[in-house]
């Protein structure tokens, strides 16, 4: 049978971000997938060398809108380690609360996009309506919907008032109730299961060998979550990563769905335990030396490498985002699958191309 090449992207209705895949097809079956990235490269790593290390917080936040709080957290944690700054306890808890809110809105958005990809428009609307409640909390507490700019080197910029600490669990309860209603559609609906179960199976060995991260790895049965190391205040919270055995699109959906509940639980725990006190400490001097900092994002683990030279400017900042690590797994899953499954397969790695290209 003659082979044909079908381009998927860089502009495709299922994904607003520019990922280009050349799909080598035999009839409707994919034989090979060749990826091409580089459509939204902005040179942010280079830009960080031109800005002062305090200004870089705002630069790294703009690597990705969806997980901006975690990018800033990873950068700030690295800098604090380098400069020997002890972050106040309250700030550590605030960082957890905002990070988990980010994870919630990212997963709710992803679940909605998945529903849209398999053509379930009303489910998509249900999830995005719930996501809007999280976005409103974010705007009310931090002043902005996505790029919340709360993390600074030495703590956080804003505090949560008593009123907000009482309001957030109430809103989360509402989201929990609404999500429980649509949960069974993802888990039990015949049509939805038909699109997800057994599609794009990634075994635990493959997932480990290809270096997948985050929900991708956890759906394949690998118990790996950087939050287990207890950075920020995660060490003081009751936490167990969500692990599924299936390794298919269904398992990845279940992992992300359960992680929304887990985030609700973590935020409530953090609000229950949050201590009184300062939210940031003044930082003096310039960083010197090199450091690696890692943080668990909604899509997996992000890695920051920073080298400072004792001046205000960094020598080098390098970041590896989870989508970059998950693309090899996508290329492993694509050959052998049907063309109609490509949007679902692509979405289940939760690609963030602007993260990947920086």
């Amino acid at each position: 049978m003659p082979k044909t090449v079908i381009p998927f992207g860089p502009q495709h209705p299922v994904l607003p971000e520019p990922l280009h895949l050349k799909l080598v097809m035999e009839d409707e079956k994919i034989v090979e997938a060749i990826p091409a990235i580089g459509y939204v490269h902005r040179g942010l790593e280079k830009l960080t060398e031109k800005k002062e290390f305090t200004q870089n917080v705002f630069v790294v936040e703009r690597v990705c809108g969806i997980c901006s709080a975690m990018h800033a957290l990873a950068y700030c944690q690295g800098m604090e380690k380098l400069m020997g700054v002890e972050v106040p306890d309250r700030a550590r808890y605030l960082r957890v609360i905002w990070s988990e809110l980010h994870r919630m809105h990212s997963h709710l958005m992803w679940l909605g996009l998945l529903a849209d990809a398999f053509g379930f428009e009303s489910l998509f609307m249900q999830l995005w309506r719930n996501r809007e409640k999280v976005m409103d909390i974010m705007e009310e507490t931090a002043g902005s919907r996505v790029i919340i700019s709360v993390n600074i080197i030495g703590g956080t910029k804003r505090d949560l008032s008593e009123e907000m600490l009482a309001k957030i669990p109430a809103v989360l309860d509402e989201i929990y109730k609404d999500l429980k209603q649509v949960e069974s559609v993802f888990l039990n609906d015949y049509t939805v299961k038909h699109r997800l179960v057994g599609v794009g199976v990634l075994s635990a060995e493959d997932a480990h060998a290809l270096g997948t991260l985050g929900p991708m790895a956890r759906a394949s049965g690998i118990r790996m979550d950087h939050r287990m190391t207890g950075y920020a205040a995660y060490g003081e919270l009751d936490f167990e990563p969500v692990v599924e055995k299936g390794g298919d699109c269904y398992a990845r959906t279940v992992v992300r769905l359960k992680e929304v509940y887990q985030s609700i639980d973590l935020i409530k725990q953090a609000i229950g335990k949050i201590p009184e006190g300062e939210i940031n400490v003044p930082v003096k001097g310039n960083p010197n030396g090199e450091v690696i900092s890692r943080v668990e994002q909604p899509r997996g683990e992000v890695l920051y490498y920073m080298r400072a030279n004792g001046t205000k400017f960094l020598d080098r900042l390098r970041l590896r985002t989870p989508t970059f690590a998950n693309i090899p797994a996508l290329l492993k899953m694509l050959p052998g699958s049907q063309l109609a499954d490509v949007p679902i397969l692509l979405l289940t790695i939760d690609p963030c191309i602007s993260c990947t290209e920086r």
Binding site: K51, F58, S122, L123, R129, D136, E140, G143, S144, Y190
Partner: protein, 123 residues
């Protein structure tokens, strides 16, 4: 399947989650970072900390001519200038920046102090 039907029926009788936007606007939350509202030129001492801290070099301060200018098209609305201002003369606005036709900078000039009339010399 029936879960979703129940949900759909509930949504048919409940009020919409969206707003009829241009007619009904949601009021902004308190302390939302909408845009840099401006600089109170009466209070500004032209120290230039805001322009040094600005991550996008959107602010220019001229101490001799007593001018303070911001390029709203460079500004990333991080709110750093307002938080570092020693006199708290820069303030944030809760409303977002409206769309503009031209890329104009907003230049503020400190009004010159009224000349002090020295009556004693004349008298």
């Amino acid at each position: 399947m029936f879960d979703m039907i129940r949900n759909v029926l509930k949504n048919m009788v409940s009020k919409p989650a969206t707003r009829n936007y241009p007619l009904y606007k949601r009021p902004s939350f308190k302390d939302t970072r909408g845009r840099v509202g401006g600089n109170d030129m009466e209070k500004c001492i032209f120290c230039g900390i805001c322009s040094r801290k600005c991550p996008s070099q959107a602010i220019k301060v001229n101490k001799t001519e007593k001018t303070w200018e911001i390029d709203p098209f460079k500004c990333v609305i991080c709110g750093e200038c307002a938080s570092v201002c020693p006199k708290k003369s820069i303030y944030m606005d809760e409303q977002y920046t409206p769309a503009a036709y031209r890329k104009e900078k907003s230049i503020l000039v400190q009004p010159s102090e009224p000349a002090v009339s020295d009556d004693r010399v004349i008298a």
